[in-house]
C-alpha cells in the first residue's frame, strides 16, 4: 500500500477512496461499478477522482438497475474481473438480494470450486441523519446468515482502507459495509493493521467487555471513557469470519459482556455473539451477556425520535455500569 503510507488518508471516506485506488492500481482486473460512482464521484463523494484516474472502462456508471448490475458484477467476477460493486444504501439489498444470496454466495459451492467469485459488495448504512425508514437500516445480520459471504464493517480510518484492500484481494464474495456517519472522521495512524477476520481490542479494560462494530465503536469508546468502571472495547471488524477467540479471551478476564450494535436488536447479529459467548463461557460469566441494539421499530424520520431509539454512548455507559453492579 505504498501510496497510502506516503500520504496517510485523513478521513474515513478518503481512506475508502484510497483503498479502492490502491486495489485498482495493484490489479488491472479490479473495476468499480455502481450508480454515479464514476463521473459524479459518488453521492457521498467517496469515489471522487477515480473515474478521472482509471477511466470509464474501469469505473462504470450504471442505470438504476441494481438487480442487473449487481448480477452482472457477479458474472464478471466469475470470468476474470474483480469487481467492486456499490449498493448505494444497504436498504437497497431489497432490490438485488438474489444476486448476492443465491448467486454470489452459492456458485462457488454449487460448482464444487469450479467457479470463483472474487467480488466486493460495497455498501453503506448509518442512521442518525433523518434519512427515514428506507435509508437507515443496518442489515448485516441478514447477510451474515448467508453461507458463502464474508461481512466486514470497518470502524476506523485504517480499516476503511485496509479492509477494502483485503476484501478485494480475497477470492470470495465480501460485503464491505461503510457507515456514513463516519465518512468525515479523521484518523490516519489510529491503529495497527490487522488482517481480515481478526477482531481488534480497541481499548483495554478489566470490568466489562464491549463487543461492537461500525459507528458504534466510536460511541462505545466514548461511553467507555465516561464509565465509572473499566471497559474493554472490541472492534469486531468482521462478522464473517467471526473472531470469537478475541472476544472470549477478553470476556474470560472481565466475566461481563455487552454487545452493542446500531441494527435492530431482535434477531440481530448481537444474538449470535451472545449465544456463543453464553455457551462457551457459561461457568465464567458473572452476569448474563447483555445486548444493546435498536428497538424493533422502523427508523422514524424525525431526528428527535431517531435519537430516542438509536443506541447512544449514554446508554452504553449505563449498561456497563449496570453489569458491574449486577455481579
Amino acid at each position: 500500500m505504498s501510496s497510502s503510507t506516503d500520504a496517510p488518508p485523513l478521513r474515513y471516506s478518503g481512506a475508502i477512496n484510497q483503498g479502492i485506488a490502491d486495489a485498482m492500481e495493484a490489479d488491472d482486473r479490479v473495476v468499480l461499478i455502481g450508480i454515479d460512482v464514476g463521473a459524479g464521484g459518488g453521492i457521498f463523494t467517496v469515489t471522487r477522482g477515480l473515474h478521472e484516474r482509471f477511466g470509464p472502462a474501469r469505473v462504470l456508471d450504471t442505470p438504476i438497475s441494481e438487480m442487473g448490475f449487481v448480477g452482472a458484477a457477479v458474472g464478471a467476477a466469475m470470468t476474470g474481473l474483480r469487481p467492486i460493486v456499490e449498493i448505494m444504501f444497504m436498504d437497497f439489498i431489497g432490490v438485488c438480494l438474489d444476486a448476492i444470496m443465491n448467486q454470489a454466495a452459492k456458485l462457488h459451492y454449487m460448482s464444487s470450486g469450479a467457479l470463483e467469485i472474487p467480488i466486493v459488495f460495497r455498501t453503506q448504512t448509518g442512521a442518525g441523519r433523518a434519512a427515514g425508514a428506507q435509508h437507515s437500516q443496518s442489515l448485516e445480520a441478514m447477510l451474515a446468515h448467508i453461507p458463502g459471504l464474508k461481512v466486514v464493517l470497518p470502524a476506523t480510518v485504517t480499516d476503511a482502507h485496509d479492509l477494502l484492500v483485503a476484501a478485494v484481494e480475497d477470492p470470495n464474495p465480501v460485503v464491505y459495509v461503510e457507515n456514513r456517519r463516519l465518512y468525515a472522521m479523521k484518523g490516519g495512524s489510529d491503529v495497527d493493521p490487522l488482517p481480515l477476520g481478526k477482531a481488534r481490542v480497541a481499548r483495554a479494560g478489566d470490568d466489562v467487555t464491549v463487543v461492537t462494530w461500525g459507528q458504534m465503536l466510536r460511541e462505545s469508546l466514548t461511553a467507555a471513557d465516561r464509565a465509572g468502571v473499566s471497559v474493554e472495547v472490541i472492534d469486531l471488524r468482521s462478522l464473517v469470519p467471526l473472531d470469537l477467540d478475541t472476544v472470549l479471551r477478553s470476556a474470560q478476564r472481565t466475566g461481563r459482556v455487552l454487545v452493542v450494535h446500531e441494527a435492530v436488536q431482535d434477531f440481530g447479529a448481537g444474538a449470535e455473539i451472545a449465544a456463543r459467548v453464553g455457551e462457551e463461557l457459561f461457568d465464567v460469566l458473572r452476569v448474563p451477556v447483555k445486548r444493546l441494539g435498536a428497538p424493533s421499530v422502523p427508523m422514524p424520520f424525525s431526528p428527535d425520535l431517531e435519537q430516542a431509539i438509536m443506541p447512544q454512548a449514554g446508554a452504553i455507559t449505563a449498561a456497563c455500569e449496570q453489569l458491574v453492579r449486577e455481579g
Binding site: I35, D36, A39, G40, I43, D61, T62, P63, I64, S65, M67, G68, D91, F92, G94, V95, R129, A130, A131, G132, A133, Q134, H135, P295, S296, V297, P298, P300, F301, S302, P303, D304, L305, A308, I309
Partner: protein, 328 residues
C-alpha cells in the same frame, strides 16, 4: 369483470387554477430549499422546482379519491393531489403535527384521505404499489384511477417492467406517469438507454402511451384527462411521458457540475412552466400580470404561514417512535 360504471368526467380545470397550484408548489419548494440550506429541515430533500406543471396538470385531472404513489421528489404531486399544506410542511420539519406525525418525512409523505399512498424512497417501488391500488379499484369496483409518478431513471428498474406488464395483462385503471427531467441524480439519463423515449418502451407492454411537453400545464392536463377517461372506461392502463427539467440538484446541496449551463438557463427562463402559463393567461386576456403576481404572493404567504406553524409545532413525543409498528 364488467367495467366500473363511468360517471361523467369533471370539466377540465381552468388554466388559472392550474397556475395557482403551480404557484403553490413553486412557493413551497423555493422555501423548502432555503429551509434545508439553513438546517431547518433535516434528512434528504429533493425539490421539484421547474417540474410544477406535471404535478398540477396531472392531479387536476384526478378525483379526490383517486390513488397516487410518488417518489423522493414528490412534494409537488402531494400538494397538487390535495394534501394539507400545513401538514406537509410540519412533516418535513419532523413535527408531531406533520401528516405522518414526523415519522415519514420528505421522502415518505402519505395521506390516504386524499388517495396519497405515499412517496417512496426506493426508486421504482411505488409503481407496483399503484398497480395494486388499481387492482383494488377494479376488483372492489371503486371506480378509482391509480397514478404512479416516477422519473425517467426509474424506467430502468425491474419494478417498472414487471408492474407495467401486470397493469397491462390485468387491464387495470393505472396511469404510469413518467416525469422525464433528464437527469437521474448526476447522470444524464439519455446515456442509460439506447432508445429515445419511454413511450417506445411502453410498446413492449402493449400499453397506450403518449408523450407530452411537461412544462405546458394545459397539455399535461389534457392528456391526463384522456388517460383517466380510458381508465374509468375500463380500457386499461396508460403511460404518459412528460418532458420537463429539474432546476435544482438531485438533492438540495448538489451544485450540479454535470449540467451544461446553457441548457439549465433555458429551462429556468423561457421554459419556466409558470412563466409559460402566465404568458398564456395574459394572452388569453381577462387577467393581468399584476393579478398573477398576487397569486404567487398569496402562495408565498400560505407557505410562510405553514412554515411558522411548523416551527411552532411540537416535536413528536418519544413514545411516538414505538407506535404503529403494528396495528393493534
Amino acid at each position: 369483470m364488467p367495467p366500473t360504471s363511468v360517471s361523467s368526467p369533471a370539466p377540465p380545470a381552468s388554466l388559472a387554477d392550474l397556475h395557482a397550484t403551480m404557484a403553490l408548489i413553486r412557493a413551497f419548494e423555493t422555501r423548502v430549499s432555503t429551509l434545508y440550506r439553513d438546517g431547518d429541515i433535516p434528512g434528504f430533500v429533493h425539490t421539484s422546482l421547474g417540474q410544477e406543471a406535471v404535478a398540477a396538470g396531472v392531479c387536476a385531472a384526478l378525483e379526490h379519491d383517486d390513488y397516487l404513489t410518488t417518489t423522493h421528489r414528490g412534494h409537488g404531486h402531494v400538494l397538487a393531489k390535495g394534501a394539507d399544506l400545513d401538514g406537509m410542511m410540519a412533516e418535513l420539519f419532523g413535527r408531531a403535527a406533520g401528516l405522518c406525525r414526523g415519522k415519514g418525512g420528505s421522502m415518505h409523505v402519505a395521506d390516504p384521505s386524499v388517495g396519497i399512498l405515499g412517496a417512496n424512497a426506493i426508486v421504482g417501488a411505488g409503481i407496483p404499489l399503484a398497480v395494486g391500488a388499481g387492482l383494488s379499484s377494479k376488483l372492489l369496483r371503486q371506480g378509482r384511477v391509480a397514478v404512479a409518478f416516477f422519473g425517467e431513471g426509474a424506467v430502468n428498474q425491474g419494478a417498472f417492467h414487471e408492474a407495467a406488464n401486470l397493469a397491462a395483462i390485468w387491464d387495470l385503471p393505472v396511469i404510469l406517469l413518467c416525469e422525464d427531467n433528464r437527469y437521474a441524480e448526476f447522470t444524464d439519463s439519455t446515456k442509460m438507454t439506447r432508445v429515445a423515449s419511454v413511450c417506445e418502451r411502453a410498446a413492449a407492454y402493449g400499453i397506450w402511451a403518449r408523450d407530452v411537453y411537461g412544462n405546458d400545464v394545459a397539455a399535461v392536463h389534457a392528456i391526463t384527462r384522456e388517460a383517466v377517461e380510458r381508465c374509468r372506461a375500463g380500457q386499461g392502463p396508460a403511460l404518459i411521458e412528460a418532458a420537463t427539467y429539474r432546476w435544482h440538484g438531485h438533492y438540495e446541496g448538489d451544485d450540479q457540475p454535470y449540467k451544461p449551463d446553457a441548457e439549465a438557463d433555458e429551462w429556468r427562463t423561457d421554459r419556466d412552466p409558470l412563466v409559460v402559463a402566465e404568458a398564456a393567461l395574459v394572452a388569453e386576456g381577462g387577467v393581468t400580470a399584476a393579478e398573477l403576481s398576487a397569486v404567487r404572493a398569496r402562495a408565498t404567504e400560505r407557505v410562510d404561514r405553514a412554515v411558522a406553524a411548523a416551527r411552532a409545532a411540537a416535536v413528536p413525543a418519544e413514545q411516538e417512535a414505538f407506535q404503529h409498528v403494528f396495528v393493534d
